[in-house]
């Protein structure tokens, strides 16, 4: 059994135990200790590299979880604001990605609890169309294939947005972001076994929503 830590918006705060085969292989592209030390010192160059390394992942997670470009931008901005504020508390020994995912997840959760989000969800269900696919970049050389891909994209995204929030988080973090169950458990503040079960339920629910629609 190895020791792991869960995260909150301010950094690494909670120590716990994890199954040895949980999680995923270390990210070979993660910043080095020296780079993270410079981020801690808010060195502009290091901050720039840090931003370039993670901004797309943070934005991508937010976009898939909330399905709206403007809200995803707000969440991304909030994540990097908190990173900047808490940079001096960054642990250079650890991969910062789970920390970033935690902040992004918490920001999404705050949004989902807001009345603005609930109102928007009701309106979206009446419209019956997700705006996400229209915002994705498309290849321009194969219009027919692009059309099919866009339609498939829209179906999947719509189905994701119909899932309950915790199930959507589980499947997007696992299958879209590539996080391991142990990391998801740490990010969402639940146990490892619960994270695995939640993912299983999410997969089952998504399959039911997509059954017969992806052929």
């Amino acid at each position: 059994v190895t020791e792991t830590r869960t995260h909150n918006d301010a950094g690494f705060v909670h120590r716990g135990t994890a199954h040895p085969d949980a999680g995923r292989t270390p990210d070979p592209e993660r910043p080095t200790r020296a780079e993270l030390e410079r981020v801690r010192a808010r060195d502009p160059e290091a901050l720039g590299a840090f931003y370039e390394r993670y901004v797309d992942r943070v934005y991508g997670l937010a976009h898939r979880l909330v399905g709206d470009r403007a809200q995803a931008e707000d969440i991304t901005q909030e994540v990097f604001l908190k990173v900047h504020r808490a940079a001096d508390r960054l642990d250079p020994e650890r991969d910062p990605l789970p920390w970033l995912m935690t902040i992004a997840h918490n920001a999404c959760r705050d949004l989902w609890r807001s009345s603005a989000w609930k109102l928007g969800r009701r309106a979206a269900s009446l419209d019956g169309d997700s705006p996400l696919a229209a915002t994705l970049t498309r290849r321009r050389d194969e219009p027919e294939r692009d059309l099919i891909a866009a339609e498939r994209e829209r179906l999947v995204q719509d189905a994701l947005l119909r899932l309950p929030d915790p199930l959507r988080v589980a499947i997007v973090m696992h299958d879209y972001q590539g996080l391991g169950h142990e990391e998801i458990a740490a990010v969402t503040g639940i146990g490892h076994a619960a994270a695995r079960k939640r993912y299983s339920r999410a997969l089952s629910a998504l399959a039911n929503l997509l059954r017969g629609r992806l052929e």
Binding site: R42, P44, L47, G48, Y51, E52, V55, D56, Y59, G60, H63, R64, R69, A72, E73, T76, Q77, E78, F80, L81, V83, H84, R85, L132, T135, L136, T137, A149, R152, E153, V156, Q157, A159, L160, I171, V172, D175, Y176, R196, K197, Y199, S200, R201, L203, S204, L206, A207, N208, L209, L210, R211, L214
Partner: protein, 273 residues
């Protein structure tokens, strides 16, 4: 036996594959560049934190001036609340009155009115009389031989209870329209008199205090005794030798004099400060 929760069915595997096949959602280049700039330069914190200017009472200049402003406000309110000053309506007779131990010739009482302030101890010489008015609130007629500590006139909004001390002689009081809701307490060596709007005389004699009520109701309490109400046309005499107070019809002379004061109320109600 339930299946392994991670062992997916074909549909579930297809659903997971569909999620993994989703294109990477990327931020708009303009947003991405602006956020990078803000993050690197540290402006992101400035932009997110809305710095509201502090409320005016927490600004430096306001904090420094607040005590002085409070003092000014208190002084203004106290000044506006203050009741009217005593004015001399009439100074009859000759002789020398004494105000706070300072001689004041009766013919010059009007010029010396500034000394007739609340709390001033006034002795009027025998055979003379001094009529004072507090614009619209009340008037006092201090008969010759009387010694009295002047009350304040009631304030406009607060400090509406005022107190006079009659040590000897006859002092007549009559309240005006602006006295409404105020309270006058007259203290004598033998009794306390509570007035809430009336015309009366307080006469301090060698044997005790006589309170003659021309109109309204006055409450009289002998020192060490109970409070009794004295109604219009009656008088109450409180002895200073331990005898029980007596109540009777008011003195005829007081009825006449108090009636005159009451009739001429308009003369002093409009009296200035």
């Amino acid at each position: 036996m339930s299946r392994d929760p991670i062992e997916p069915t074909a549909d579930e595997r297809r659903a997971g594959d569909a999620v993994r096949a989703l294109e990477a959602a990327r931020p708009e280049p303009a947003f991405r560049a602006r956020l990078r700039q803000d993050f690197v330069t540290g402006r992101i914190g400035e932009r997110a934190v809305v710095r509201l200017s502090p409320p005016w009472w927490r600004r430096g200049w306001a904090a420094a001036l607040a005590p002085a402003a409070a003092v000014v406000v208190v002084l203004l309110v106290a000044g506006v609340n203050r009741g009217p000053q005593w004015t001399v309506m009439a100074a009859n007779g000759d002789g020398i009155a004494v105000v706070d131990g300072v001689p004041m010739p009766m013919p010059h009482a009007a010029e010396e009115a500034r000394r007739l302030r609340a709390g001033a101890r006034v002795q009027v010489p025998p055979g003379a009389s001094l009529d004072l008015a507090g614009s619209g609130t009340m008037m006092m007629e201090i008969a010759g031989g009387a010694e009295v500590t002047l009350p304040a006139t009631p304030g406009r909004w607060f400090a509406r209870g005022v107190e006079a001390h009659v040590r000897s002689g006859t002092v007549r009081f009559s309240t005006g329209a602006r006295f409404h809701g105020a309270r006058l307490h007259v203290e004598t060596p033998e009794a306390g008199v509570e007035v809430t709007g009336t015309t009366l005389a307080v006469i301090c004699e060698p044997r005790g205090t006589c309170v003659c009520v021309y109109e309204g109701v006055v409450r009289v309490r002998a020192h060490g005794g109970s409070i009794e109400s004295v109604s219009a046309g009656r008088r109450r005499f409180v002895y200073n030798d331990g005898r029980a107070p007596i109540e009777d019809a008011m003195l005829p002379g007081e009825r006449t004099r108090l009636g005159e004061i009451r009739e001429h109320r308009d003369d002093w109600q409009g009296g200035g400060r």
